[in-house]
Amino acid sequence: MRKNRYNSSWRARTGPFSGGHLTDEDLIRSLDGELSSKETAEADAHILSCWSCRGRRQAIEEGIGDLVEYQNAIATPYLPPPLHDRAIFLARLDALAAGLGRPSRFVTMLRETIRMLGIHPLNRVAQVAGILLLVTSGLALYFLQTTRIVSADELLNRATVSDMNTLKAVAEPVVIQRLRVHVGRQLLTRTIYRDIAHNRITSRTDVSGLGKELVRAAYLRSSLDWNTPLDAKTYRSWRSRHADGQDTVIQHESGEVTLQTKLTAGPVAEADLTVRTSDYHAIAERYQLADHSEIEIAELSYDVIPLAALHENVFAPLPEPSLPRFPVAVLPEPMSPNDAGLANAQVQAEMTLHKLGGDLGEEIEIKIRPEREIVVEGVVTDESRKQQVQAELQKIAGVRMHILTIAEAAQQPSRGSGAALRPGASAQTMSASLPLLDSELNARFPDNDQRMAYVNQALSLAQLASARAWALYRLADRHPSQDVARLSDPSRRELQALLIDHISVLREDVSLLQNQLAQVLSRSSNTPAANTAVSARNNAAVSESQRDWRIRIHRVHSSIETIHEATATLLTSSPINNTSNVEEIEINLRTSLTEMQTELQDLDQEVRKGNLK
């Protein structure tokens, strides 16, 4: 249609530029590639011979250029989009995906097939016939495979065989399993990579170190396997250790079967494993613990890919069989350095731990003993983490290590306050009231999952900020001015870099938390009084001694702890006797967050300028 119209008319058209010239619309279409190839060739030929049309086309191009330039100028101040919003989006996507559940394999297969049919243009009859054939085969397969009742053992056998068959289909299979784990208030998403052939496992979680450790601690207390959750083989192994278990198999109308195991003694009172009847793949697991708390695991995705498809850094390198393994006992004997050497080694140890992420909530401490040696001691989660920390620290001369795994620490009866497990973390009191901001949360997030995701994210941010403030606090305490004076220039710069790193990230965390909380804090808490308080505090004369970075860090730490506490008080269930004034807490929280932005900015500038003292 368009071709005919243009072919017949554009050259002959008359108008403001009569006499066989191109119209403005023709010129714009030509510039935009909206003419047919024949029309384009004719237009180009005309422009070559016609100065008038060429000049008009150039003017249009310049006009468009100015327009684009104008739009760039408008948008530039807002670009690139803020990075921290991406994390919020991923959390929202995760919550939505969890809410929608995983599509069945049959539906996925059908859609993929339809898509493929679309790619290869078949005629409509063949497409319809193909789809009908698929639907019929799928239904037949479904009804043939559906088992009405199976025993617990049979169910676990089928689930194990199903997983094995999936693995057999891929050379050197790596299982990538994405799970949502819910323990008490903690909700996290774990992605576990399992290299089946070489028995290697690595995983990552989407929450702070502290949140992850709380969940992992709940696992360990219950003698459950942290590395292979939601796995039929692991469940069977766990079940076989409890001879008193009573099994019940429940078939759901939704096409799933749940194996329920009840125990009379031990840390776990009841456990469920749910599998799909279509392929007997385990999709959900639940442990009800003796202290009435629960661990719930739901599968978000399960994929098996060849090892070669993964980046080589995903797993730890395979051990070299020819190399002897050095026991901890033969670690090099630390030297006895002088004071400056000790101080420098301490900074090196701090930087090493920082790079390993060991200074954010992990129970590792650095101490200088009277015997003039630095001791790094603490409790880490497992043997691999222990090896990792030791391997890095032993490169620093003058450092002695005393690192235990949680299992090793548990065997030491008088470990005292340094234990990694924080007792009572999941044993929440049963007599709790609603969150102080319950009505605001319900109004802002009517959907339960979204509300929970929001609260978890806010708490996680507050915890992260707290862990970061603690790391700064420890650095300030370990480095009085006389100690900094002893440091060599490289060590001083390293300490400075360490401080800057923590402060920068803390600023970001506080900013994120402020944005997050603004969604539920009442507008009334943003009162002139609160702003005046911030302004007054900021304008107050600060003495020289108050400008010292250590004193500033102490102030920051104290405020962050207040913010952490206020966030938890407002968003989570509080003890019944909590009679705090909500409005007052909100105003204080807003004030502290605003004040913190300024304080951290000043601290950042203070630490960055010149030589650290």
Binding site: G65, L67, Y70, Q71, P77, L90, I114
Partner: protein, 211 residues
């Protein structure tokens, strides 16, 4: 149904519409927001992975588009995220995968009109900010006179845009974002010829102001 994500890349055309941006991450308008090599991989990704990939790829240009159609900066990210969450639901429910870029712009465009109508406003540019913005424009004419002329042209474009109808502005903005006439028509629910005439009239008005 045919084409899938490859439809995103189908419409790469040479144009003057996307030749200007040098300061903030390259050409945005007509840029191929997703690398062509990624297209095949996208087809095999899970819906979540695909959405994340699309979000990372399309977010900057969508962000710029929304700013330019007047969504306040405070609301832009919300519109962007809501659009991609809707795209996720769309893909999960087996929705059509032709031209996902067009799909996401259409949804974002409608959201910016419907959901945020109450709060939506044209970005107000204060004289001070405007001066700053004018100075930030890439300087291709080193002489002070040339700079003044350039700034003057930009001022005139601003005034020219104010004369346009909403439809003309929408067509211009989508064209700057790199869409073909057919796609603009689909996004705005108008015919291709209306798109062409709107663009012609819009450019004529801008050039009149510019002269």
């Amino acid at each position: 149904m045919s084409g899938g994500l490859s439809a995103i890349f189908r419409n790469a055309i040479p144009s003057v519409w996307a030749s200007m941006d040098t300061a903030t991450g390259g050409v945005v308008g007509l840029a191929l927001d997703i690398k062509i090599g990624d297209a095949e991989r996208l087809k095999t990704d899970s819906p979540e992975q695909r959405i994340i990939h699309l979000y990372d790829s399309l977010r900057p240009s969508l962000y710029r588009y929304l700013i330019n159609i007047g969504v306040s900066p405070q609301d832009v990210e919300e519109v962007v995220q809501e659009s991609f969450l809707r795209l996720f639901r769309h893909l999960r429910s087996g929705g059509n995968e032709d031209n996902l870029r067009g799909w996401i712009f259409k949804v974002a465009h409608n959201l910016s009109i419907n959901v945020f109508q109450g709060k939506r406003h044209q970005i107000e540019v204060s004289p001070e900010l405007w001066q700053q913005l004018s100075l930030s424009v890439p300087d291709r004419t080193p002489s002070p006179e040339g700079q003044l002329l350039q700034q003057e042209r930009i001022h005139r474009i601003k005034n020219g845009l104010a004369d346009l109808t909403q439809l003309q502005r929408n067509c211009l903005n989508l064209r700057v974002a790199g869409f073909r006439y057919r796609e603009i028509g689909e996004i705005l629910n108008i015919g291709t010829s209306t798109v062409a005439s709107s663009l012609r009239n819009a450019i004529a008005r801008i050039m009149k102001r510019r002269a």
